[in-house]
């Protein structure tokens, strides 16, 4: 990612990355915590014949948070695998139009996912579904999971905004045709 030429535009991009990073850290530190518990379980079972109880239940509620947290970072850093095939064939202007169109599709999919997953979280809350052994409620982690997609969708709105500005020639983006 090249640095943006304008100070005013650098700030929000930085903020976006910082937020995504922060979320990602929360999720992965949770995952490392889960790995730590697994280590304790392995040692306990191996050395003392007393496995930890309910580690699967903890994983079931922790994993959605750990994995969901990585989604906004994928969107912000454009980490998704994209085949840039037409780039070589198209002019700058057509490329920008394509970016806008692709951005709209991505936004629709992310928003749709946030919506469907949010409804799923609500349904889990009403039904009070819980894990097998420890009876941990499932709705909080799925609310978080849906929330991560919502954040990703919001980031995508900003990214799409940038693409639109480039296309309409407003903003400095139009200049960086390298």
């Amino acid at each position: 990612m090249s640095a943006s030429p304008s100070e005013t535009r650098a700030a929000p991009v930085g903020a976006r990355h910082q937020t995504a990073r922060l979320l990602l850290l929360v999720g992965l530190i949770g995952l490392i915590g889960l790995a730590g518990l697994t280590l304790v379980d392995v040692l306990g079972r191996w050395l003392l014949n007393t496995p930890l109880r309910g580690i699967g239940d903890i994983a079931e509620v922790a994993l959605p948070v750990a994995i969901g947290a990585s989604v906004p970072a994928v969107i912000v850093t454009r980490g998704n695998i994209t085949i840039r095939f037409l780039d070589r064939l198209l002019g700058a202007r057509a490329k920008q139009a394509l970016d806008v169109a692709a951005g709209v599709v991505v936004l629709i999919v992310l928003a749709g996912l946030a919506c469907a997953l949010g409804r799923h979280a609500l349904a889990l809350m009403w039904s009070g579904e819980s894990t097998w052994l420890l009876r941990l409620p499932q709705w909080p982690s799925w609310t978080a999971f849906a929330g991560f997609f919502l954040v990703a969708a919001l980031f995508q709105v900003v990214i799409l905004g940038d693409a639109l500005r480039k296309l309409t020639g407003r903003g400095e983006g139009a200049a960086d045709g390298a």
Binding site: R21, I32, V42, I81, A116, L117, F145
Partner: protein, 429 residues
């Protein structure tokens, strides 16, 4: 009628992908849309949510981020440098010695790191500068690292093998065990290829220094912690202390502790590792969501049954059908993402492979070998791109030229493991 929907769906998906929509999003949109049109909106939402739920809460799949974490922390903790130094001192004085050392280093590193790109990137940083200063041809050096990087996925643990195991409901450990023979073959063939290339063009890879026994011992002592770390993970996993799931968790924790003990873990590096592992995690899960939705859509079109029946009706000998699939993967692998290519085709290919009486585990090994070949072939070869980012002075065309001998030797290996399933299955008993 089903077939028409399938054909339209496939066309829409490829259309979206070539309109530069990320592969995962294109599969999600097409799979969901097609399913909703064929079955209805409520079932489509329900299938989408349960497919995501099942993937996210799968503890088997959770080994993927854990293996990614382990690989990230292993690469900053100087582990690769240790391994490279050790193998350089042992075999570096021969013709093309640093290249042989790179292959050996990648092979051992591959036993900790589950991904081909990460292995290529790590050794690109470790080995490329040294080879450049010793006057090695950058094209061959970069090509060797890109090819040896695929050992990261061919040698267990392997993220792709984990995903294949989960999608086909086979045992992860079976695939890991079956991968050992072909992995040994891969290392042997790569080294043989290198020997042939450097024999014909010695100027591409001048021999390095010969080291004294004391120097070698020093490198061995220096690499000892790394080797112990390796032994704990591999011994624990194959020796019955823990399952693959647990090995991934233990490995992730140990690699962090390891980096910490060696003084390599600054706060900034810790964050970088997490970001790298996290991004790849998010990317892989999004692709899995997309591929799951796509495969449910494909299933309701009824195309897989039609396809299986069609294949059976051709009356082709099984080996020819297998060869056709391999060819299809080579083509797909060069224009498509590795994991996505495998996932999108499994609903079709697996029923045929099973109906032909082939072993699902063996087919996993073949699939991974073929899609990894795609990582080093043009136009889209992820490992080559990675090397190009590490050492841009060589240039993409030169790198693709440098990797060409390995592409050929990989093809030979694929033919061998297809013709002789025993290479994969012998250790399984």
């Amino acid at each position: 009628m089903g077939l028409e929907s399938f054909a339209i769906g496939l066309a829409v998906m490829f259309g979206l992908i070539y309109l530069q929509i990320p592969i995962a999003i294109a599969m999600l949109a097409t799979g969901f849309g097609g399913y909703a049109l064929l079955v209805g909106m409520t079932p489509a939402v329900s299938t989408l949510v349960s497919a995501i739920d099942a993937s996210v809460t799968s503890q088997s799949l959770a080994v993927v981020p854990l293996f990614l974490l382990m690989g990230s922390f292993a690469s900053i903790s100087g582990l690769a440098t240790d391994l490279y130094r050790l193998s350089e001192r042992m075999i570096g004085h021969r013709r093309g010695g640093l290249l042989h050392a790179t292959i050996a280093g990648c092979a051992v590193f591959g036993a900790i790191c589950g991904s081909s790109v990460a292995t290529a990137a790590t050794f690109g940083r470790v080995a490329m500068p040294e080879m450049a200063t010793r006057g090695y041809a950058l094209s061959l050096a970069g090509g060797t690292i890109a090819a040896a990087g695929t050992l990261g996925a061919l040698i267990p643990p392997s993220v792709i093998l984990v995903i294949y195991a989960i999608m086909t409901e086979s045992f992860i450990l079976d695939l890991f065990v079956a991968a050992v023979g072909p992995a040994v073959l891969a290392v042997a063939l790569q080294m043989l290829t290198l020997a042939i290339v450097t024999a014909r063009h010695p100027e591409l890879a001048p021999p390095g220094d010969r080291y004294s026994r004391a120097d070698r011992l020093e490198a061995l002592v220096g690499a000892a912690p790394t080797l112990v770390f390796l032994l704990v993970i591999i011994g624990g996993m194959y020796g019955g202390v823990f399952t693959v799931n647990e090995a991934a968790a233990v490995g992730a924790i140990l690699s962090i502790v390891f980096a910490l003990l060696r003084g390599r873990l600054t706060w900034a590096r810790f964050l970088d590792c997490l970001v790298e592992a996290g991004r790849n995690t998010g990317m892989i899960y999004l692709i899995i969501f997309g591929a799951e939705m796509m495969s449910y859509f494909v299933t309701v079109t009824g195309a897989p049954q039609t396809f299986t029946a069609f294949i059976e009706a051709t009356g082709w000998p099984p080996l020819m059908i297998v060869a056709a699939f391999v060819l299809m993967y080579v083509v797909l692998g060069s224009v498509f993402d590795t994991i996505a290519a495998m996932l999108i085709t499994l609903p079709f290919v697996l029923p045929v492979i099973e109906s032909l009486g082939y072993d699902v585990v063996w087919w996993g090994i073949v699939t991974v070998a073929v899609v990894e070949l795609g990582m080093i072939t043009p136009p889209i070869g992820m490992n080559i791109f990675v090397l190009n980012a590490v050492a841009p002075q060589a240039g993409l065309p030169a790198l693709f030229r440098g990797v060409l001998p390995f592409v050929l030797s990989d093809m030979v290996r694929i033919v061998l493991i297809v013709l002789f399933p025993v290479i994969s299955l012998a250790l399984l008993g």
